[in-house]
Every structure is written in C-alpha cells, then in structure tokens.
C-alpha cells in the first residue's frame, strides 16, 4: 500500500516564448517549475490549483504527451523520462488518461465499439472476438449497456460520454489513471455519479489515480492526498484530512476559504487575495506567491521556499514554517 507507484522528481516544463520575424527566443513560460511528488499504489492523489498553474501540464508530462524540460518520472521502477518514444508508447498501456471534455475526446466518426477497441488493437491484446467481448464487458462495468456499442458519441449525453472515456482508459488494464479534470465539464448531479463510478472502479480494479481538478470539493471527496499548485510550483502536499482541516500555506487557506458552505447562517472568514496571478513568463522572485500573500516577509521576495515536511506527511513550501529563514 505504501510502495510508491509513481515518483516524480524536479519536473520542469519551460515553454519558449518566440517573438520577432526570426522567431528569436525572448524568454520562457515556466509552466511547471521543479515539481516533485510521489503516488502510492492504490491511492488517489488530487492536484488542485487555478487555471494556468501547471496542473494539466504536469499530468501530460507524466505520460510524455509533452516532453519535460527537466526532471525524472519513475513509474513502477521504470524511468519514463529516459526511454525511447517507442518504448514510451508501449508503456502507455500501464498509464491511461481520462480527459476533461467528453465532447472533444471521442472521435465523432467512430462508433463506441471502435473507440473502445482501439486501445486493444494498438497494444495487440486478444483477437477480434475477445476484444468485442471485452468492449461489451467494460460498457457494462461503467454503467452503459452492450447495445450502446454500435452508436456514435454524439448520441450520448455528457455523463455517458465520460463513462465511455473512462471505459476506454480501462481497456488495457492500466495501473495508473491520470484524470485531467474528468468532471469539470459535467453537471453537478452527473459529477457525483461519475466520481462514484471512479471510486467503485478503483476498489474493484485496484487502480491508482492522479486526479487533476480545480474544484476543491470534488478533490476532497475522491482524494487520499492532495497537492496544491500555484504558478507551476507545488505549494502544499498533504493528506486530504489534514489539508482541509488544517491548511498551512497561505494560498491553500485562501483557496479553502473561498469554498462555498451550504449554510446561509454560516459566517465565514473569507480571505480575499489581492491582485491577479502573476504572469508565468515573468514570475515573481523568491516565493511566487509573495505578491499576493498577506503574511509576506523579507525572505519571501528573494528565497525560493522548498517543499518541506513540517508535520508527518504534511509538506508545505512556505517560509512561515521554516524557522531558519524567519530569524
């Protein structure tokens, strides 16, 4: 249970900014900057953050859909960042992805059967007959019926399409599923259904999830541990309970205070952050959050805080919890 299935070390993605007639490189967008974490077998790691914080980029780099600029990704003892692209393609059998937009992630010209069969054909699993059987089996597993196999994606609702997307990710019996905002395009009532389905599948098929989302409630519901990202860096990483009950990083506190509480009588202290997210092409020096942080100190403007374990299992990248910097 505690064996790390995926280990990420110092992952970076810098997108070059090119300008001018000759496309001279004039800078970088630091989409992901030195992110490290691990995922244990059978657990769900949630990654939250606002738009543009690099959470999707991180997810895509884990599968090498985007090549990392720097860093090491080790999956099940195999270093994914150093293998050839052919080997990586084969390794994708073990890591699958569920996408955000169920309307865009299914080829509109293929029937559901073809969509679900494709992973099996690509990885050369089984023969025509057994593939067909498996397609029908997985349609039932995700709560659809086998007679849906002959239909096209446009004949389904958003929630049903996302179930197809999940079924497709499951076809090759992967160990790890990276879910990139799998429910943010769905209605709230459907969100719950899809989340419950994902949890049931996790138990049944012993899956490990990396769950990327911007909805804190959703992440809390499904995750064992949660990482909070801000401007390409991991700000805080802790177990779900300890992060939600006792957030340490000022950014996490602000985020959590913004979660609506379904009680009109409830008086809450809302931390309103001033300003906008700074541009990732020109991030603030030191701690990237210092421009908006209510607890800003001298050190924050110059020294980049490291992600450190301040309590067992609770990591935070903030100088407030680092006594050496404070004094």
């Amino acid at each position: 249970m505690t064996k790390p299935l995926l280990q990420v070390e110092g992952l970076k993605k810098y997108f070059p900014i090119r300008s001018g007639v000759l496309a001279k490189q004039s800078g970088y967008v630091k989409a992901v900057d030195n992110v490290s974490f691990h995922v244990n077998e059978g657990e769900t790691l949630g990654i939250v953050g606002e738009s543009g914080c690099g959470k999707s980029t991180t997810g895509r780099m884990l599968m090498r859909l985007l090549e990392p600029t720097e860093g090491k990704v080790t999956f099940d003892g195999k270093e994914l960042t150093s293998i050839s692209s052919t080997e990586m393609r084969k390794a994708r059998r073990e890591i699958q992805m569920v996408f955000q937009d169920p309307y865009a992630s299914l080829n509109p010209r293929h029937t559901v059967e073809k969509i679900l069969m494709e992973p099996l054909i690509v990885h050369n699993i089984g023969n025509a007959k057994s593939r067909k059987k498996k397609v029908h089996e997985f349609l039932e597993i995700v709560g659809l019926s086998s007679y849906h196999a002959k239909r096209y994606p446009h004949q389904f609702s958003g929630g049903q399409r996302q179930r197809i997307g999940i079924a497709r990710a499951l076809m090759t019996n992967p160990k790890l599923i990276i879910a990139d905002e799998p429910v943010s395009a769905l209605d709230v009532s459907i969100q719950a259904q899809v989340l419950n389905l994902m949890q049931d599948l996790q138990k049944e098929l012993k899956l490990t999830y990396i769950f990327i989302a911007h909805d804190l409630g959703v992440v809390r519901h499904i995750s064992d541990r949660v990482g909070v990202m801000y401007l390409g860096r991991m700000a805080e990483l802790a177990t779900s309970e300890s992060l939600y009950e006792e957030p340490l990083h000022p950014y996490t506190k602000a985020l959590l205070s913004a979660v609506p509480v379904p009680d009109p009588e409830h008086k809450r202290e809302q931390i309103i952050l001033e300003g906008d997210i700074p541009s990732p092409s020109n991030p603030p020096s030191g701690c990237t959050f210092h421009t908006r942080c209510p607890f800003r100190m001298e050190a924050c403007t110059s020294i980049v805080p490291k992600l450190e374990e301040v309590k067992p299992g609770h990591f935070v990248a903030c100088h407030l919890y680092n006594e050496q910097v404070q004094h």
């Binding site: 895509r60 690509v122 090759t172």
Partner: protein
C-alpha cells in the same frame, strides 16, 4: 378516483436508430436539398451518357457523310452536323466520357497528391511545412490556366498530358485545404487521447485525422471536377488538350469557330453540354457543402 401508478422500475430505453453515423446524417440532409438533387441528377445523367455512350449514340463519332455537312438540327441529326458531316449529338454523347474522365481522374490525382503533402505539412509542421507551403504558394502565384499551358507545352499536347497538367495545378488547392484541416484536428482532444492510448503516428493520421478532414475535400473535389472540365475544354480549345478527331467538347468548340456564322449549332450544343455538366457538379457540390459542414446544421 385515479390511482397513482407506481413508477416502473424498468429502465426506459429510448430507441434511436442505432446506425445514425455522420455520413448517414449528411445523406439525410443532402436528400432534403432539392437544388442539390437536381445537380446530382444532372451529374448522374452525364455519367450514364458516358457509360452507355456507344450504345445510345445513333452514329459513330467519326462517321462522316460529306453530303450532310453543316446541316441544322433535324429529326435525323438532332443537334445538326459539323464541318465533316459528323453527327454532333453522337459526338457530344461520346464527349461526355472524355470530359468526365478528365474531370474525375485529374481531381482524384490532385486529391491524393494534395492530401499526402497536406497531411505531412500539417502534422509534422516546422521546416517540412515551410517547404511544402512555400511550394504551394509559388504554384498558386501563377494563373492556373497559364500553369497548365506551361505543363502541357513541356509534356506535349495530348489529352493525357492535359489531364496531368490539370491534376498538377490543383494540387496546392487541396494541399492547403487538408493542411489547414489537419492543423485544427491535430489539436483536438481525441488526437491527444489517441496518443495517450499509445497509438502510432501512422495510425493516428489515417484512422483519425484523415477521415475527419475528408468532408471539405469531398466538397472541394466535387466543385473542382467542374473547373477541371472547363480547364480541359479550354486546353482542348487552345489545341493543347484532346487532338482531332477526338470528340472533346472544348475541341468541338474550337472547330466550330470557323463555321460559327453559318452553323451556330456546331458551337451551341457542345457549349450547352459543358455548361450543364459544370452546373450539375456545382449544384451538387454546394449541396454537399451544406450537408457536410457542421456549422450549417441546425
């Protein structure tokens, strides 16, 4: 008193036609478009003429009857006769075969070549794209008929070479069309998801990107057949395409020039044949555009 009926626990299954694929939808919308159907009808008519030509035509294409030179339309010669006493009606029927053959095969040629170049340019991008796109730009900088004349003068005047020339001048049109389509489709999430599954580039290109970029190509292809027919006729008219005595419509127009004042029917009927075929393909192409373009869907 009405009694409440307990909710049935059975799942409500809404039966939709299980096989409503994108092509079937397109056909449904196409078949509702009357103008397009007229166009398709005209095309079908000329297609039948081309196939059944030798069986329908009352006379052979080269049967000369010198006593019947330049006769006006009559019950014996429906469209009159030409300079050599040949039956214009029979020649037009045979000419359908030539025009449609040139139209179809040149467009198929330029679609195949254009698709391959366009896909490579669009999918791989970078310097490959730059080279291919600039070549397209250079070709598009010339008026197409001028380029065709240049190609034919290099290869020598014949129907075959006119066909090749027309195919070549249309390559950049299809190439650019496919390239732009590939550029937009490769950013779609189902392409990313295909990569995430572990699919090879070749499979992504041919099983996902190509089928999804075909709709505008079919439309442009249908319309291009019309212009290819005109171009073939123009080359024939200039003496660079089909050579005498082939009953090519453009060539017939050119031959009619000399006797136009005395026998206008020698020009009118081939002219009408060209016009009708082109009209048919254009109407059908417009109908296909409406049927295949998702933005037109309501």
């Amino acid at each position: 008193m009405t009694q409440m009926v307990p909710n049935s626990t059975k799942e409500i299954v809404i039966q939709t036609d299980p096989s409503t694929g994108p092509w079937r939808d397109a056909w449904r919308s196409f078949s509702k478009n009357k103008v397009a159907l007229v166009g398709a009808g005209i095309v079908l008519f000329f297609l039948l003429l081309a196939i059944l030509g030798p069986y329908i035509a009352p006379q052979g294409i080269n049967d000369q009857s010198l006593k019947d030179r330049l006769l006006p339309p009559s019950s014996q010669y429906w469209f009159g006769t030409d300079d050599f006493g040949r039956d214009i009606f029979s020649r037009i029927i045979h000419g359908a075969r030539i025009s449609l053959w040139v139209g179809f095969s040149s467009v198929v040629g330029s679609v195949v070549a254009g698709s391959i170049l366009g896909i490579i340019a669009g999918y791989y991008g970078k310097w490959v794209d730059t080279i291919i796109s600039r070549i397209f730009d250079i070709m598009l900088a010339f008026p197409s008929i001028l380029l065709a004349i240049a190609v034919v003068s290099v290869l020598g005047p014949s129907l075959q070479n006119a066909l090749i020339a027309i195919a070549i001048i249309n390559i950049p049109n299809f190439g650019r069309l496919i390239r732009s389509k590939v550029l937009s489709i490769k950013e779609e999430e189902y392409i990313t998801s295909a990569k995430a599954i572990g699919m090879k580039d070749v499979r992504i290109l041919f099983s996902h990107i190509l089928p999804n970029s075909m709709a505008p190509v079919i439309v442009a292809g249908t319309l291009a057949i019309a212009s290819a027919i005109i171009e073939a006729a123009a080359l024939g008219f200039l003496g660079l395409g089909a050579q005498a005595p082939a009953p090519e419509w453009g060539k017939m127009l050119a031959d009619a020039r000399v006797v136009l004042r005395n026998a206008p029917w020698t020009m009118i009927f081939p002219g009408i044949a060209i016009m009708l075929t082109v009209l048919g393909f254009n109407l059908m192409g417009d109908g296909l555009r409406d049927a295949l373009d998702p933005r037109m869907k309501n």
